[in-house]
């Protein structure tokens, strides 16, 4: 699909010379700045890059919000006020299933983007649907956990530890839920409008969002659950 106007062999030789290990960048100082990256006299960066960068800034700010909740949990981890400790409320098996669901949804999300790049509408929709299904399984498992804990009387107002626990895990669950709503609207847009430029930009942003949520979950299952059970 790379249309550089050069014969394929010339293009291949240029690639091997400038990027022998396919690292995605040129050797230092071997050539003029790449077009469309906003470097040198090559003009402003491409819209795709600006969109990705802008959304990346949003994601980092979101991760900083999560870090505040992580800090609150870390500080109040021992503040159980005579109630249950974190080890009492962790169900490792359920957390394992939740992790598997979210990790697989990241995988299918990535595959949907591969299908998007191949401009294949059917497989994009199929993989987006699978992503949403796995996300739904994750949210339901988490709700089940919350309901079970509340049944045993372990509600957020029981202790400072439980407050920060529900805050952190619930905030992530809320993100996954809203991400699922976004995913549904993206499926409708792909179905109706197809792969227009702006739809592809939105799919790029959605992919970034979903993978960032998985990164936050890595922090949660490590710091809250696995370090708690031990």
């Amino acid at each position: 699909m790379t249309d550089t106007g050069l014969p394929a062999s010339v293009e291949a030789i240029r690639r091997v010379r400038e990027d022998p290990h396919r690292l995605g960048h040129r050797a230092h100082g071997s050539a003029e700045p790449a077009a469309g990256t906003g470097q040198g006299a090559t003009g402003p960066a491409d819209k795709r890059i600006l969109v990705g960068y802008g959304f990346w800034i949003y994601l980092l700010s979101d991760i900083i919000i999560f870090s505040c909740f992580f800090a609150a949990f870390a500080v109040q981890r021992a503040a159980t006020a005579g109630g249950p400790t974190i080890a009492d409320i962790v169900d490792v098996q359920r957390v394992g299933f939740e992790t598997a669901a979210l990790l697989l949804s990241s995988y299918t999300c990535m595959l949907s983007f591969a299908a998007t790049n191949a401009r294949n509408r059917l497989w994009t929709l199929i993989f987006l649907f699978l992503t949403g299904l796995l996300g739904l399984i994750f949210v339901l498992l988490e709700l089940w956990e919350f309901v079970e804990l509340a049944d045993r009387g372990f509600t957020p107002q029981r202790s400072a530890m439980l407050t920060s626990f529900y805050g952190l895990v619930g905030l992530h669950g809320l993100h996954v839920t809203l991400g699922g709503v976004w995913l549904a609207t993206m499926m409708a847009q792909v179905f109706i409008k197809g792969f227009r430029r702006e739809i592809i930009h939105r799919l790029i942003c959605f992919n970034l969002f979903w993978h960032a949520l998985d990164i936050v979950w890595i922090g949660i299952f490590t710091i809250v659950y696995l370090m708690g059970v031990h």
């Binding site: 699909m1 690292l23 960048h25 990241s106 970034l208 890595i218």
Partner: protein
């Protein structure tokens, strides 16, 4: 590949597509590249996650070392996600993203470690709770 009229490649007139991509977005490579990337990311993630759960639920590793081992595994897995799923690269178009990421990590470290540090000192310097209670009239 179903390519209707509306699905035409909007980047046809672009040059040097390999040099022009942001996180989560790469030029239209052959789809094998994408699937390989996804498979590698999933493979590494499964290994690291399984290792985390195994360490936490068994006593293969010396007990007090487990939290540190878990944190190391988590950081490794976040790196795998950043590289294989979010596509943070060393390319020229990614410089801004990498800088923003570095600043984000700085802020996160300041917030989390700073909170733990300050609150721990506060706790150490606080009067024990029973004495505090006795001061009430």
């Amino acid at each position: 590949m179903s390519t209707s009229d509306t699905d035409t490649d909007v980047y046809d007139n672009r040059q040097n597509l390999r040099d022009d991509h942001a996180p989560g977005d790469e030029p239209p490579e052959e789809s094998g590249h994408w699937v390989l990337n996804a498979n590698l990311g999933l493979g590494f993630s499964i290994i690291l996650t399984a290792a985390s759960f195994l360490l936490a639920t068994s006593n293969i590793v010396y007990g007090p070392a487990i939290p540190v081992a878990l944190i190391v595994l988590a950081i490794a897995q976040m790196g795998v996600h950043l590289v294989f799923f979010l596509h943070i690269t060393t390319g020229p178009d990614n410089t801004n993203n990498v800088l923003a990421l570095a600043f984000g990590i700085l802020v996160v470290v300041l917030i989390v470690l700073g909170s733990i540090w300050i609150m721990d000192h506060l706790k150490q310097n606080m009067m024990p709770m029973d004495q505090l209670m006795n001061m009430q009239p």
